[in-house]
Subunit: 255 residues, 2 copies
């Protein structure tokens, strides 16, 4: 039987602690090829490098693990892996573990989920994993103990074509952890603030930072609220933006 091939990427870059944790989680399940960005790509969403060329370098090669750094976005990493680096289509794609939440509307901005969603386009079962803290030294013990059960289920059951899983973990000890909850994406948006900074020439510029506005705080079945209850939230994700229930209304506009 052919050895299982697993592609791993992330958006925090090749040096992130969350990437090392994900490699440890995945190693029992097959040969791992990491193709990760050289630097942080947080907030890069589904972006692709179209006007600049993409370069990659091998950084590690042993029997069951190869690591490549790619100078581009997380989606570039998946495209580069599938087009140039991997010997064949992988059996599984894992993205993360992201340092920071990708629940609710954050999925739209997420490079981690950009990579997972890109892999799903080619019929590769894919999972994006995140923890809801930006702490670079986050504790991944709960994830390392519980994610294998999820990975085994995905390997056994598969996922529908073009569907991936967006999995967000709360910050908890294994004892406090309530388990997985299947959820919908929380209706929400980011309220933005722009913090002014002035350079040595007196020019103003702005760092954006904000907070999530949860538009359905009473819904127990959406990811943001499941996380608040110490569940890991699993949202099945498909990048079909169509608002189907609006189609008939628009037809009545008689354009």
């Amino acid at each position: 039987m052919q050895e299982r091939l697993i592609l791993i990427s992330n958006d925090d870059g090749i040096s992130a602690k969350g990437l090392d944790s994900l490699i440890r989680i995945a190693q029992p399940y097959g040969k791992i090829v990491v193709v990760a960005p050289s630097t942080t790509q947080s907030g890069k969403s589904h972006s692709v490098s179209l006007t600049t060329p993409i370069r990659y370098e091998i950084r590690h090669s042993s029997k069951n693990l190869e690591k490549y750094v790619l100078f581009g976005t997380p989606v570039d990493c998946v495209k580069g892996a599938l087009t140039k680096i991997l010997p064949r289509k992988p059996d599984l794609m894992l993205s993360g573990i992201n340092h920071g939440s990708n629940s609710a509307i954050s999925v739209v901005y997420s490079g981690t989920m950009g990579a997972a969603i890109e892999a799903s386009f080619y019929g590769i079962p894919s999972i994006g994993l995140s923890i809801v803290t930006h702490d670079l030294d986050a504790d991944f013990e709960t994830i390392e103990k519980t994610a294998p059960a999820l990975i085994e289920k995905v390997l056994k059951q598969g996922l529908p074509d073009q569907v991936s899983l967006n999995v967000n973990y709360p910050v908890t000890t294994p004892e406090e952890f309530k388990g997985f909850k299947i959820c919908s994406q929380t209706k929400s948006y980011w309220y933005e603030d722009f913090e002014e900074t002035v350079d040595i020439h007196g020019n103003k510029s702005y760092f954006q930072h904000g907070h999530l506005v949860n538009m359905e705080p009473e819904n127990p079945n959406c990811d943001e609220n499941a996380l608040a209850e110490n569940y890991a939230a699993i949202v099945p994700v498909r990048a079909d933006f169509t608002e189907y229930k609006m189609i008939d209304k628009l037809k009545k506009w008689n354009l």
Copy 2:
């Protein structure tokens, strides 16, 4: 009555011909504030600048038109406009006219639609407009003649909270143009190729280019196929990635 305020952005940058065309289309409907990226942001999707500060400069100011250039992504432009530049929430947001198709799965990669979708998060009726050619000198005559009817409908009827319209135009003369068709997003993916280029030090790098694989070529109601029939395709868009029909299946996994 307060004058109508219209925000315009794009992903081809402040100098694009498509932006000038959209300003001409919108000018009868109110005061226009353009906040557009300094350079091309094609393929930037919903990305935001998180690790670099955002700067903007005014470029033009007259009674009914202000133009700002912003050094960031299309979504940064919308966030900057709403947070720092505009005196109040605009009544309408227009994005484009993009030089290149944003139909089918391209909506996921599109900076043009990133900006339109971002505006919809704040309850601003928004429309992204594209023409299916990358020609920088594209002919926008058909769009300039027909888009006003669509804009007037949106101004009159509004759009639901967090819904925007993704409008793609074929390359046609006004005579060949068949009118608008309300569509779903074509199930599809991009087949990628990586074209090798070698720098003066002998290092290889790659430009990605590909073609869209249409997974539902017989569906008359999806955007890609409507465009092939010389219709302008209108897809109502909501950035809810949840694959609802998968939720019950996942619950049966008993994780």
